[in-house]
């Protein structure tokens, strides 16, 4: 016989007090929207970084000259006492049975000029192996060959941006450009690659590694990139490279080998943490929204004392009043949660449109979590006011004006 429709009663009450209901929901709406938006932002940042490193491959070991005592990072530039040489690279290539490719790299900046146009560009001295190790390929013409390296030929391959800036739509292949005052013949144009690791791959000029050493007047290398055949062999590959290089360097470990994947994974951990922290901060605003609900519900109980008295006089039991008020707060929080999800998703989309570079994505767990949390907030912060309402004495409640 006790089939009390407290749901109907609660909805009646919410409908009758539309403005108050809407304002109460606002706190939760903002909270949930903030959680979703900030988590999406964090996730977007991670996606961005992932995209940046994606071209690098997860099977790369980077050998840099110099050794630092603290672990976990590349050495500070200029701290190298012993150089990495092309000989080191050759040893790795010859004896590194785990390696798919070994690419010595020389790095410098030079003025590159064609006719009256000139730019200051990063110049990479590389070998043919560089193509496969870094997964960068030539689109027009050919890449640098073994012979180009051995004979220190003055040939170069241009990145897309460099080509456009210097040549416009004209054909660049076979033309000569001046790199740091020396004439180089253009043998190839790289395919469009975009930005990776904050370096615009398209804005580079590639020359044979020995030519670069000559050009910049250095005999060492900037780094040696090693691609390992099998991702599982990254650790053993690192050991192999270490022992090979130590032997070549009179047992001195005067170089550093960085496992790119390891650094990436710790970076991702940091970014994940960032996402959680952002979400947590937003969750605080959701909590504040919940307290707002409690606040309004408490005021409501006071304001509706007479109503509670009337309901009790005509037969509402404590439980009926409790459930009505509890359901009101839960409905407010849940509706606010849904509206907040819509607002948050809309906000994330807007952000995506405004900042196309940031690949904002909304993780499903953030939606689920913020919704569950808002519903929980409604129940949790609704209990106290509802209990207060239920425990009112009907006589006093009727007398209250």
């Amino acid at each position: 016989m006790t089939r009390i429709n407290f749901v109907e009663v609660a909805f009646d009450s919410l409908r009758i007090n539309r403005l108050r209901s809407a304002l109460t929901m606002l706190g939760v709406i903002i909270g949930v929207a903030a959680v979703i938006l900030l988590v999406s932002l964090g996730q977007g940042t991670k996606n961005y970084v992932e995209e940046q490193f994606a071209g690098l491959g997860s099977n790369i070991l980077i050998v840099t000259p110099g050794k630092i005592e603290t672990k976990g990072g590349p050495p500070i530039i200029g701290s190298a006492r012993h150089k990495l040489t092309l000989n080191d690279s050759r040893i790795l290539e010859k004896k590194g049975y785990l390696f798919a490719g070994v690419a010595p790299v020389v790095f410098g900046t030079a003025e590159v000029r064609y006719q009256n146009r000139s730019r200051n560009i990063s110049v990479l001295g590389v070998t043919p192996a560089f193509q496969d190790v870094r997964n960068l390929h030539v689109e027009i013409g050919s890449f640098l060959g073994e012979a180009d390296v051995e004979s220190r030929r003055r040939v170069c391959v241009l990145g897309r941006t460099v080509k456009r800036e210097l040549f416009g739509n004209a054909n660049a292949l076979g033309q000569t450009v001046k790199v740091a005052g020396t004439l180089f013949r253009v043998v190839g144009i790289m395919e469009k690659k975009g930005i990776s690791l904050a370096i615009d791959i398209d804005d580079l000029v590639f020359v044979p590694v020995r030519t670069a050493q000559e050009l910049f007047d250095i005999d060492g290398l900037f780094e040696i990139l090693i691609s390992v055949r099998n991702t599982n062999d990254l650790d053993s590959g690192k050991e192999l490279a270490t022992s090979l290089l130590k032997r070549a360097h009179n047992r001195n470990e005067d170089f550093t080998i960085t496992n790119q994947a390891a650094i990436l994974s710790s970076l991702y951990t940091i970014l994940d943490t960032l996402t959680y922290v952002l979400g947590g901060i937003a969750a605080i605003s959701l909590l504040v929204g919940g307290i707002g609900i409690m606040n309004i519900m408490l005021v409501t109980v006071k304001e509706r004392t007479n109503e509670i008295g009337i309901r009790k006089a005509v037969g509402a039991r404590n439980r009926d009043i409790l459930l009505q008020f509890l359901f009101e707060s839960t409905a407010l929080a849940t509706a606010g949660g849904i509206a907040g999800i819509l607002a948050g998703v809309a906000g994330a989309w807007a952000l995506k449109l405004l900042v196309p570079k940031l690949p904002v994505s909304i993780p499903a767990w953030s939606i689920l979590l913020s919704f569950t949390f808002s519903a929980f907030v409604g129940v949790f912060f609704g209990v106290y006011p509802a209990k207060k309402a239920a425990s009112l004495n009907p006589i006093e409640a009727l007398r209250y004006e």
Binding site: M1, T2, R3, I4, N5, E8, V9, D12, I16, N306, E307, G309, I310, R311, K312, A313, V314, G315, A316, R317, N318, R319, D320, P394, I395, L398
Partner: protein
Amino acid sequence: MRSEPPREPLLRLRGVTKLYEAGAGRVVGLSDVDLEIGAGEFVAVMGPSGSGKSTLMNILGCLDVPTSGTYEIKGTSVAGLSSDHLSELRNREIGFVFQVFHLLPRYTALRNVELPLIYAGVPREERARRALEELRAVGLEDRKGHLTNELSGGQKQRVAIARALVNKPSLLLADEPTGNLDTRSGEELMEILAGLNASGVTVVLVTHDPVLARRAHRTVYIVDGRLVSVERFREIRG
């Protein structure tokens, strides 16, 4: 309409005393009240303000329980009932009409009349049907969709009567029902109460107006929490 076995009154109060804890000491609300009201009776309760009228009304209406003494409705004692049981008892047995109407504002007249049925667990359609019936009985069928704060005082009190009667209670408790009405609406309301009583509803009317009390079958007088004779009442009032 409601058949009670003879000799068994609808309501029976025996030595009912109600004390209130108030600050320093106790305030006597009711003192040793004996009262029986039979089914179908129309009883007026008269007394000056502060005499214990409201306390008596609260106890009769199961809004409150006596400190000592017994109160029985249809032979069942209310002593020791939980507040939820009292709610159920009010829902089933008692209809209230208050001086200040006590309708839910911003709810329609029909919704207000439905209220007791909601707590009786009556399904929606039946609820609406019975509420409409009751509104028709007080001549307000055409006002069912009006919000109660849009109604006149007389109309509000008729909605309140419809609400009081919708769950077919044993007792209609009216506390100064004409107190906030103009003379004409007051007259009309008393006609309705008299008519209801004629059709078998037990009515207890709490008032301080002797003219209204004259409409009842009998009048009980209350002074300082005690029932007194009419002579004693006149003496005190001077």
